[in-house]
């Protein structure tokens, strides 16, 4: 298992010590041309998560290759790329082909730009044709995540990054107007956790692709659950904002969680949620469990 940051949740140039604690650093999404990003206000806190509408602020592929990438030497770098057409995604991958990077993540699900890319399969296929780098498709936790995961696999993706944020909104306490200048933004943090679990679970069943699980991971327990749902790597997002020491803390917590559940290492836990419970193999205990569930349902009803 590798521990990464979620794209857009860490700048290795302003926080090299945090990036050094990760197994790989994932860049903020790089687009063909430089983007200043959205006007402020760009972030808001809600009771269940954080909203952001940064708008893919980045120096563009030229600025990235000439000014940023050379300064990331020594790190294992995954480059997140975002285009506004199939051709742009493919060209970004082509520009990265000769560079010292470990993987490319296709950001196919940014909620903060208007231009909607084409189908997942089409983008992955075009990118695949122009890169030999490991290619990960980053998807939103939408209802069709299994279909998109299959499309990415069929088109030649090497892995999946699950999940991106989902669109949300917060209103100002006094004015009742949207807090974010853009209105809506991407919801991250604890609210994403169950959505990420469901998406990872579905994609694990639908494909054979390795999955980088992310979405609200704030503890070793959260990481363990994503592994159990089917992720083989974990990425940290919003938790990095409040706790820059989260990589070290979560690694230690995960180690304790794995030991408590009898897993020798993280890889043994991958997909555990898809297997029958060990205790249910005993017919007697299965009967007992069903009965207790039935009783609880009656109480609730």
């Amino acid at each position: 298992m590798r521990l990464l940051n979620a794209s857009g949740c860490l700048d290795a140039l302003t926080a090299p010590a945090v990036a050094a604690e990760l197994d790989a650093f994932v860049t903020k999404t790089v687009t063909p041309l430089p983007r200043g990003g959205n006007e402020p206000v760009r972030i808001a806190e809600t009771e269940v998560g954080m909203l952001n509408a940064i708008g893919l602020a980045n120096p563009g592929i030229d600025g990235f290759l000439h000014q940023m990438l050379p300064r990331l030497a020594g790190l294992t770098v995954w480059v997140s790329v975002g285009g506004f057409s199939v051709r742009e995604y493919a060209e970004l991958c082509e520009r990265l082909e000769g560079e010292e990077i470990a993987a490319i993540e296709l950001n196919l699900s940014c909620p903060n730009v208007d231009e909607v890319p084409s189908g997942v399969g089409e983008v992955v296929a075009a990118a695949r044709a122009l890169t030999t780098k490991p290619l990960y498709a980053k998807l939103a936790p939408a209802a069709d995540v299994a279909e998109n995961a299959k499309a990415a696999e069929a088109a030649g993706a090497d892995g999946l990054s699950l999940v991106n944020t989902v669109k949300g909104m917060a209103l100002d306490e006094r004015t009742l107007r949207p807090v974010l200048a853009r209105g809506a933004g991407g919801l991250s943090g604890p609210a994403l956790r169950p959505l990420a679990l469901a998406a990872v679970f579905a994609a694990y069943e639908a494909t054979r692709l390795p999955i980088v699980g992310m979405g609200g991971v704030a503890s070793g327990r959260d990481a363990l659950e994503l592994l159990a749902a089917g992720a083989s790597d974990i990425a940290l997002g919003t938790i990095l904002f409040s706790d820059p020491a989260a990589p070290t803390r979560i690694r230690a917590e995960l180690e304790a969680e794995l030991a408590a559940h009898g897993f020798a290492d993280p890889d043994n836990a991958v997909g555990a949620a898809h297997e029958p419970e060990a205790s249910t193999l005993d017919p007697k205990s299965r009967v007992g469990r069903k009965k207790s569930l039935h009783t609880r349902a009656n109480v609730v009803g």
């Binding site: 857009g8 302003t14 945090v18 990003g37 952001n52 604890p190 919003t238 990095l240 409040s242 820059p244």
Partner: protein, 220 residues
């Protein structure tokens, strides 16, 4: 190193409508006046950026305006509770100025007591919304105080090196009246160390991260 420190809350007092939250200093570096700290807000997902108001040998003080969920939660902290703090972060005021004049508006006076101490008690000009808010002026030595409808910019004397913190309209007005001011701005921040890109403000015609470039910026 970006590691939060857990500090013990020493106490808190009302200062007009604001709260002065005091924590035991421990090993925490108070930094340069105008730098800021991310304070864990009890029960909230994200910490809140606060500049340091007071630094004694034993304690650090933060002046907080309880205007939202996070700031209200911080103001409820009681002596003996633990507060996790990250910092100092960002760029503070340049202290190598010849004729300093501190200018503050409202909760923007927060960094001025510590700044005043480091500069040896220079003159200050403070503006507030009401006499109640102006009670906070007692934290700043040598201060001339005005209350709305009078604004600090109406009394700004020429020939000083202005170091200012306050609402954006006040800072814009100070910028238009001076040539060499240092202005401390604010913006919503999730992280305070360049990761979230939430605190973007227009600097030299481009949207840049205030936590990385500022929060103190030259007026030019």
């Amino acid at each position: 190193m970006l590691t939060r420190r857990a500090l013990r809350v020493a106490g808190s007092e009302a200062v007009g409508p604001y709260t002065l939250l005091r924590v035991e200093r421990g090993e925490l570096d108070p930094g340069i006046p105008g730098q800021f700290f991310m304070l864990e807000a009890p029960g909230r997902l994200l910490p809140r950026p606060m500049s340091l108001c007071l630094a004694t040998a034993a304690e650090l003080g933060f002046l907080i305006d309880p205007i939202g969920h996070g700031t209200r939660a911080l103001c409820t902290l009681a002596a003996g509770e633990t507060l996790r703090i990250l910092g100092p972060l960002g760029n503070g005021f340049r202290l190598d100025v010849e004729r300093p004049l501190l200018v503050g508006g409202g909760i923007g006076i927060a960094p001025l007591p510590y700044l005043s101490e480091r500069l040896g008690g220079p003159p200050a000009l403070l503006g507030f919304r009401s006499a109640w808010h102006a009670e906070a002026a007692a934290l700043v030595p040598n201060a001339e105080v005005v209350v709305e409808p009078t604004y600090v910019t109406e009394l700004l004397p020429p020939g000083h090196d202005v170091l200012a913190c306050g609402p954006a309209p006040m800072l814009e007005a100070v910028r238009s009246l001076t040539t060499n001011a240092q202005l401390a701005w604010e913006a919503p921040m999730a992280c305070g160390y360049g990761a979230c890109y939430g605190c973007a403000v227009e600097i030299d015609g481009e949207l840049k991260r205030l936590c990385v470039e500022g929060p103190v910026l030259a007026a030019a």
